[in-house]
Structure formats: C-alpha cells, structure tokens
Symmetry: C2
Subunit: 152 residues, 2 copies
Amino acid sequence: MQRTRFGDMACSIARTLDVIGEPWSPLILRDVYVGIRRFEQLQQDLGISRKVLAERLRWLVDNGVLARTEYSSRPPRHEYTLTQKGLELCDLLMVMVRWGDRWTAGEAGPPVLYRHHACGEISHVELHCSVCDRPMRAGDVDVLPGPGAVPA
Amino acid sequence: MQRTRFGDMACSIARTLDVIGEPWSPLILRDVYVGIRRFEQLQQDLGISRKVLAERLRWLVDNGVLARTEYSSRPPRHEYTLTQKGLELCDLLMVMVRWGDRWTAGEAGPPVLYRHHACGEISHVELHCSVCDRPMRAGDVDVLPGPGAVPA
DNA sequence: TGCTAGCGTTCCCTTAAGGAACTCACGAGG
DNA sequence: CCTCGTGAGTTCCTTAAGGGAACGCTAGCA
C-alpha cells in the first residue's frame, strides 16, 4: 500500500499517529492496559490476525510503548506490559472513551466506567489548562507556531 | 484488505476509531480545525492522494464530524467545517499533541503552541476528574464494566 | 511417545493507498 | 466564440497491507 510516513512530519499529531495510528494499535494498548498481556489472549480477545498482532507488538515494543518481559524461562513465555511512555498514551484512550461515550454509545450507555482513585467516584476525564487549571477545550485556544515548526 | 469493522464492538475506543481511525482522518480534522477547509488546499497541505481525500471527507461528513457547505453557488464551490461533534474530536487532537510533544518532539521543541483564551498563557492540556477536579490519568482509575458492556 | 499450550511465521488472497490522468462546471480573457 | 484556468472530484493502474489458515518450534506432562 506504500503508505505515507507520518513520523517525519513536523506535527505532533502525525508523529503520535506514527506510533499508534495503525489499525488495531490503540485496541492492543487498551487490552494491555486492562490486563490482557499475552499473545494468545490478545489474539482471542481482539479477533485480530496473528500476523498483524505480531507486527503491531513488535512495532510497539520497538517504539518503547510496550515492554516484552519473560514471565517464565522454562518454557520461555513472554508478556507485554506498558512502559511509562505507553501508560501516558492510555490518557489518550481515556479521551477517546469520553468522545465515544458521548457520541456513539447510544441507548445502552457506556461500555466501561472509570472510578477515580482520589475521590472514589465514577467520573470521566475533562481537559484543563496546565497554567490556570480552568477548562481548556479545542475551541478555547489560539494555535501558534512553536519552536519546532518548519519555516514557511 | 477486508478490514475488520470496529464500529460494532462494545468499546468506545473502537467506535471512536471507526470514525477517525483511518489513516489521514485525524490530520484532515486538524487542518479543518486550523482553517484549511477546501479540497484543493487540504490536498496540497497534506500531500494526500485526491482519491483518499475524497473518500475520507465523504466518510467524515456522513458521520457528522464535518459539514460540507456551499460558499459559492456559481460556480458551485464547497468547503468543509467542523460540527460540534467534530470540534469535540479536536479535544482528542490536543491530547495527541501533548503526548507527541513530550515523547517525539526532540531537540526542536513542539511544532505548535496553544494559547488559552481564559488566561492568555501558553499552556497545554491536562486531564482532570469531572467530579473532584483533581488530576486523573490512566494510572489513577479503576476500570469497571458499564451499562453498555456485553455480558461475558 | 505423543499431546497440548504458548508464540509466532509463512503463504495466499483480497482490498485499500498512492499517483497520475481525466472529467465537469463555470468564469475570464482575447 | 474559442480557449484557458480553477475547484472539486472520479477513474484506472500498481503495489502493499490486512485476514485467515496452516505450519513450526519449544517445552512441560502423561
């Protein structure tokens, strides 16, 4: 398919997509996040082709999102766990869940709920400003060129 | 490629991916968000194939993320704008930017900056709990089955 | 010795992405 | 009137990626 490489673009969205933009990657991440860590389990839970699963896992490990660790040496068995980099990607999943819950969940309601450790309540994520702590959504900002922008 | 349909899964992540999970879709959304609204401009800015661009735009319009509006009737000319549903998807882009800035920007620094209207400062998004307002990251929650979950 | 589990790899088929060329409607210029 | 240019797609061909099934490998176990 000779797909265009997103990783070289001067855009953090494109570079993030380069890491988890392939089909299945976010769902693999979700599964590892909720504790499905082994190849066989992942394949069955997702219904993904084994070939593609192997490719994706290798890519995610190579990119430092997952770590492949041995949980038994004889016989050699491995499982996949989140790195810090991968755990922070799961923040992204929470925001996807929020949007999906609002716009695609329909009658049945959200498939999963989050209970916040700090307050013990069922809740969801909201976006706040790192400086003033007030809500900060896509409509609440100006977009300006940063130091890593390419000169026009 | 006979790709698996994500839209039917009982998972808000999968259902969100069904809408913007194809390659290019998030970048199209980004462009429309920053004011690139016309077919020709999008094609040039992204370097995307015209065929794929047409497909993606149709899909995004059909799914209510973008609206196709006529800005000139003779000759007929159209532009694409964000719906409310689409604007809320841009929240997701902001979180992607945050992760990409942290983990992929490197030496040069972030390609774009956000200035928050409310405080006027350059800042970035952080995830907070909708109930207690304190930070809420992927590691700060328990995941529980919700009403829309499929019975195991 | 054969069975089974866990993890992949190989092979083939179909479909989607890239790219260039083509279409169509319209306005402008000569 | 004829031609050119522009915006917005569409068509066609090539190539590569996803799906699925079968195969391989290692090792514990009966």
